[in-house]
């Protein structure tokens, strides 16, 4: 397939920067055109990684939700909302099974599954006051490294947008996603 997306983006960016911007006289239009050029530059850095980013998140959310199910499964007398939250996750993992070859699914399926799993995890977070003390402690401990991984990944993803005062210390998103040219997160075994 040619031209590659990167080529389209680079062409648009150059045109805006070298043809459009110098000929604009309105300050507001100049400002907006500059933002469009910056956006195109950012898209160039991430466009080939979007699918793998979602795929990695898919595997990470499945892992954490399976762990939450296990944690909740060890508790006696779970509240009704917590039991309902567990049931939702179990139902979803029948639709997007951990052992399935998710990498062969279309992008909207993976993205949709991820959005659902994020909402499920948020529901558990909201329900923490309902959890027995020991369960809550275990749940919090499980989430701590998960949160760390999220914030590092997202911060690397947006590094190119120029808002991060610590950009120089953030790894590139490619370094986070891949090791030895493979996606870092191992798929579930069938």
């Amino acid at each position: 397939m040619s031209p590659e997306i990167e080529q389209f983006l680079a062409g648009m960016k150059k045109t805006i920067e070298e043809v459009v911007l110098p000929n604009l006289t309105d300050r507001f239009a100049q400002e907006q055109a500059g933002i469009v050029a910056a956006t195109l530059g950012f898209l160039s850095t991430i466009q080939d990684k979007v699918f793998h980013y979602e795929l990695l998140e898919n595997q990470e959310y499945k892992r954490v939700l399976l762990d939450v199910l296990e944690i909740c499964g060890e508790a006696d007398g779970l509240s009704k909302p917590l039991r309902a939250a567990c049931a939702k996750v179990e139902g979803h993992l029948q639709l997007d099974k951990p052992e399935d070859q998710t990498s062969l699914r279309p992008y909207p399926f993976i993205r949709g599954s991820n959005e659902n799993m994020k909402e499920f995890l948020c529901e558990f977070i909201q329900l923490q006051p309902d959890m027995p003390a020991q369960i809550r402690t275990t749940f919090e401990a499980r989430l701590k490294p998960f949160f760390k991984a999220i914030e590092t990944r997202e911060r690397s993803w947006v590094k190119g947008l120029g808002f991060d005062p610590e950009a120089a210390q953030q790894p590139d998103i490619g370094e986070l996603l891949y090791a030895d040219n493979y996606l870092r997160s191992a798929p579930f075994k069938p």
Binding site: R111, P129, F147
Partner: protein, 401 residues
């Protein structure tokens, strides 16, 4: 774009039942409730935002004739302003008789809401606080305000235009974040910057006309609960995807909310980009009061000193609003205000401020661009980058605590 979940569908196409449910879940001040409810009701009914610049002048002319009762006024040089991130801003010159028999020409600024903004706020609240602060700290003079938006199609406020500098030369930063001031300029601005905030917090608001504001009771959590309710509600109305770190922070803020002994006026967005100075280096305007409310002064202190809003010095330190180090800022604040800084409370509002920044820059900026509801759709997408830095900082701050 598809709706991946039922929640996301509700947010994109809110119906009356869902709106009522969200209103009940997140109590906020009455005028804020009006703004948010109105936003949701028109969300799926209005088309993509389009500035009607062609007819703006004639509509403005009709409005001003009606507002002044004068038929012979003259509007000249209408221009769109760059540099903002929330409202559409235009300047124009108006010739009319501000007082009986005394014709005058003044340059004015029109601040108008887009169809949805990165911060949805109330123009009457903004007008009231600007009038209340007149004579207390330097602010633009408000002439007219239409919080409904019948005449120009969107709510608006018209104020006097002040000449001065917001961003020094070469300081092209989005919304003034991380702005750089030369050392000698810093030295001349920093005390003024702190002193004005100290004064804002010491204004006796009980005797000001702030009818659009709810007044928190002393020694309760009213003010802090409304502040959190504001941003929680915005998150749940606007977010284009769930986020566990943000959700966890909201729970932490609820479970650790301090009692507020003496509520004060909180500016809500006190930082570089929101003040202006003259060529002789005097701050001649404190701007952008739209997030103002009555609450805890630590909320302003934490927000203003957030590292992600500051300017890195290159040696690992960060200048608050590009002017002075955080410790210096807090020391001067205590000296100028007489208020003492409670480090535990400051830490609470650090978390709150990162949460607020995340809500604005991840949820609402993405939502407005998603719905094509603003004149700054491209910029709104870009600002989500700042939002994810805020979420990262939020999580790191919670880890520290």
């Amino acid at each position: 774009m598809p709706y991946y979940t039922q929640t996301l569908q509700h947010r994109a196409e809110p119906d009356d039942a869902w709106i009522e449910q969200i209103r009940a879940r997140f109590p906020v001040e009455h005028s804020i409730d009006d703004v948010f409810t109105n936003k949701l009701k028109k969300r799926c009914k209005s088309a993509a935002h389009k500035t009607d610049f062609e007819h703006l002048e004639s509509r403005l002319f009709d409005y001003l004739k009606s507002a002044t009762g004068q038929q012979d006024l003259v509007i000249a040089n209408p221009k769109r302003l760059s540099g903002g991130a929330s409202k559409e801003q235009f300047t124009f010159e108006l010739t009319w008789c501000p007082e009986a028999g005394t014709p005058a020409t003044r340059k004015l600024i029109l601040r108008m809401d887009p169809s949805e903004s990165i911060v949805e706020t109330h123009r009457l609240r903004e007008a009231q606080i600007l009038r209340a602060m007149s004579g207390e700290v330097p602010v633009p003079e408000v002439y007219w305000c239409d919080p409904i938006g019948l005449d120009l199609g969107h709510p608006f406020l018209i104020a006097g235009f002040l000449e001065g500098t917001v961003q020094p030369d070469g300081g092209d930063k989005a919304s003034g974040l991380g702005m750089y001031f030369e050392p000698d300029l810093r030295d001349q601005l920093k005390d003024q910057f702190v002193r004005h905030l100290a004064h804002i917090h010491n204004v006796d608001w009980h005797h000001k006309d702030l009818s659009a504001y709810d007044k928190p009771r002393d020694n309760t959590t009213d003010g802090n609960a409304w502040s959190l309710g504001w941003w929680e509600r915005v998150w749940h109305e606007d977010a284009v995807e769930a986020h566990p770190v943000v959700e966890n922070a909201a729970l932490w803020l609820k479970e650790n909310m301090p009692v507020l002994e003496k509520p004060v006026i909180v500016h809500g967005d006190y930082r570089s980009g929101n003040f202006m100075y003259t060529h002789d280096r005097h701050i001649n305007a404190i701007l952008d009061w739209e997030l103002c409310h009555i609450g805890d002064y630590h909320e302003d202190l934490a927000y203003t000193t957030l590292e992600i809003l500051g300017t890195p010095t290159g040696d690992g330190r960060v200048l608050t609003s590009g002017l002075l180090l955080k410790d210096q800022f807090l020391e001067k604040y205590e000296q100028f205000s007489g208020n003492s800084v409670d480090s535990k409370r400051l830490a609470y509002f650090d978390v709150f401020s990162y949460y607020k920044a995340a809500v604005i820059a991840v949820a609402t900026s993405s939502r407005t661009a998603y719905g094509r509801k603003t004149h700054l759709d491209a910029m709104m997408n870009l600002l989500s980058g700042f939002g994810y830095v805020a979420i990262s900082a939020l999580q790191r701050r919670l880890d520290d605590i």
